[in-house]
Amino acid sequence: MSALVKQSFLMNLPWRWLLNRLFNGGLTLVIVLSLTFILLRLMPGGPFDNPKLPESVKLALEARYHLNSPLWEQLVSYFQGLLRGDLGPSLVNEGRTVADLLKDSVPVSLALGLLAGVIGIPAGVGIGLWLGLTEGTKNWQAALVEGLLVLILASPSFLIAGGLVWLFAVKLAWLPVALLSTPAHWVLPVATLCSVPIVSCSFLVKKSVIETKNQLYVTLKYAYGLPNKLILLKHLLKPSLLPLVAVSAPLLANLLTGSFAVEYLFAIPGMGKQFIAAIINRDYTVVLGLTGLYALFLLVFNLISDGLLVLIDPRLKESTNQ
């Protein structure tokens, strides 16, 4: 029996949809990498532009990394390397590969972003639920929280970070200002990153709860005498699940790819910092690796969220199949 259920569940999964999406994702990745490759090469300057470097040494270095062969040949050989799982050597950091460098920075950014998402999304849902339920009653705390959320929505991330650092690190001196070593160092960067999912999730859930709470079927559930908690979770939160899943993927991807300002302010050795340094130094392979990874994160998160949406509501197969 259970084997049968399992089999039919596997059969019913949208395999064709998944294959289609994977193919499109791969294509997008190839386009992103090719575009970045061409953009990088059209930029003036190169990794070995050092006035102290003799011309012969520069030429030898360029020959060593095959920078003087035709552009399309380099592109093809880069993709050949990628297929073998080889991201190439770093051009500026002597003796280190791109994979090596990514191993230093990616876990940091990934941990920060995921932590912010894991804390921020449920917190946003909770706040949204509370705001939706108190809507219409003259609750001053709710009005205060809502005003605060609008203020956070209106501020760029460096302002939120600045405010938090000024209050908790400078004035109160409870927490360290920057860097990442002890758990206490993680509090302020994660709190800054959290603000985005908290604001967007709470507004989304609030809107949905306000729409749902006065529906007749919800009143009926109260009349039945169902426990409050059950009504909240099952009937008030459920309608917001679909838009929540749809919004979480770009949110999480943005937390990972958009933490430039936070990494800059807190001097965190993550992907954003590495990316900026690599652009300035014209470290072509590192820029390519990071851009590809950013695009990959975005694609994977979008795929997961669209997959969840399709599982929740199979009618969406059409609209999410690019």
Binding site: L39, V150, F158, L159, T257, A261, I276
Partner: protein
């Protein structure tokens, strides 16, 4: 032939309701501040060596004080408003134009290959890591545009920062138009199914007049809505990039560069950060208020 919709009049409910929000008036204040640069009587880039880091309201000729180099903060704030609003409005305008054109093109040719192509392009832009590519494009476009210009213009010293801003604007607009195109396409799809469009076609009307007389007036509120979303986002991204040092460059300055400066001087001159913050926050809150008002007006329909 009579137009099927009432053309926007002075008592258009959307415009009337916008007049009654403080968002519109706050934004007008910011624009007024940006336009006041030539009337302030101070050069924002002039360095007054003898009076660095003056506190606000302490000196009559520098009403809001000076920064660490002795530059007048009031005029720097106004210049910042000019640059931030300029970037925001040009990005908004470009993405509105591109979004309107491509959204209409897709919506009027639903299901045809041109529509599919536009949709694919939108999906591609959405799947790009935007901030990363904006940084890359802004760095790349600067020398690229410089190479295109004739050498006589090229050698003037004001051209570099201007070209840098242009590159940033183009990069931001590239990621901003798909939102507008999506809204316009969906709305066009809804409109072309309305009976008045069918009546228009059956009377032998052409496509050009349909767009200018019938579709555009109906699309205008949606275009306004997409502008109130794209302009503040461009301003916010620009200020974040300028803050990290990848956006606007000296001698130009925006609220983001001013905030970066205030950040370094937080302990000695906190008023610099407060002023830059006030500029950004005020305009963002105004845009938020206007968006909410338009949303409310749509919900009332």
């Amino acid at each position: 032939m009579q137009s099927a919709v009432v053309p926007p009049k002075a008592n258009n409910p959307l415009l009337v309701s916008l007049q009654s929000t403080w968002g519109t008036w706050g934004l007008a204040l910011v624009i007024l501040g940006a336009l006041s640069v030539p009337f302030l009587g101070q050069d924002a880039t002039f360095i007054h060596v003898k009076s660095p880091l003056l506190a606000p309201f302490s000196n009559f000729s520098f009403p809001l004080g000076t920064d660490d180099l002795g530059r007048d903060l009031l005029s720097r704030l106004a210049v910042g408003a000019t640059i931030s609003l300029l970037v925001g409005s040009v990005v908004g305008g470009l993405s509105a134009l591109a979004g309107l054109a491509l959204g209409l093109l897709g919506g009027l040719n639903e299901g045809k290959s041109i529509d599919t192509a536009i949709n694919r392009l939108i999906d591609l832009v959405y799947s790009l890591p935007s901030l990363v590519i904006v940084v890359l494009m802004a760095v790349f476009l600067e020398p690229f545009i410089l190479n295109l210009l004739p050498t006589t213009v090229n050698s003037t010293d004001w051209i570099r920062p201007v070209v840098k801003v242009t590159g940033l604007i183009l990069a931001l607009a590239f990621f901003s138009w798909p939102d507008t195109a999506k809204i316009i396409r969906a709305e066009t799809l809804r409109l072309v199914r309305e009976p008045f469009v069918e009546a228009y076609y059956s009377l032998g009307g052409g496509i050009g007049r349909l767009i200018t007389k019938h579709l555009l007036p109906n699309l205008a509120p949606y275009l306004l809505l997409s502008l109130t979303l794209s302009v503040p986002r461009a301003i916010l991204t620009e200020s974040t990039l300028s803050f990290i040092g990848l956006g606007i460059e000296a001698p130009l300055s925006s609220w983001g560069t001013l905030a970066a400066e205030g950040w370094y001087l937080l302990k000695t001159a906190p008023h610099i950060l407060v002023l830059a913050t006030a500029g950004i926050l005020l305009s963002m809150l105004c845009f938020h208020q206007i968006t909410q008002q338009i949303d409310r007006q749509f919900a009332r329909k």
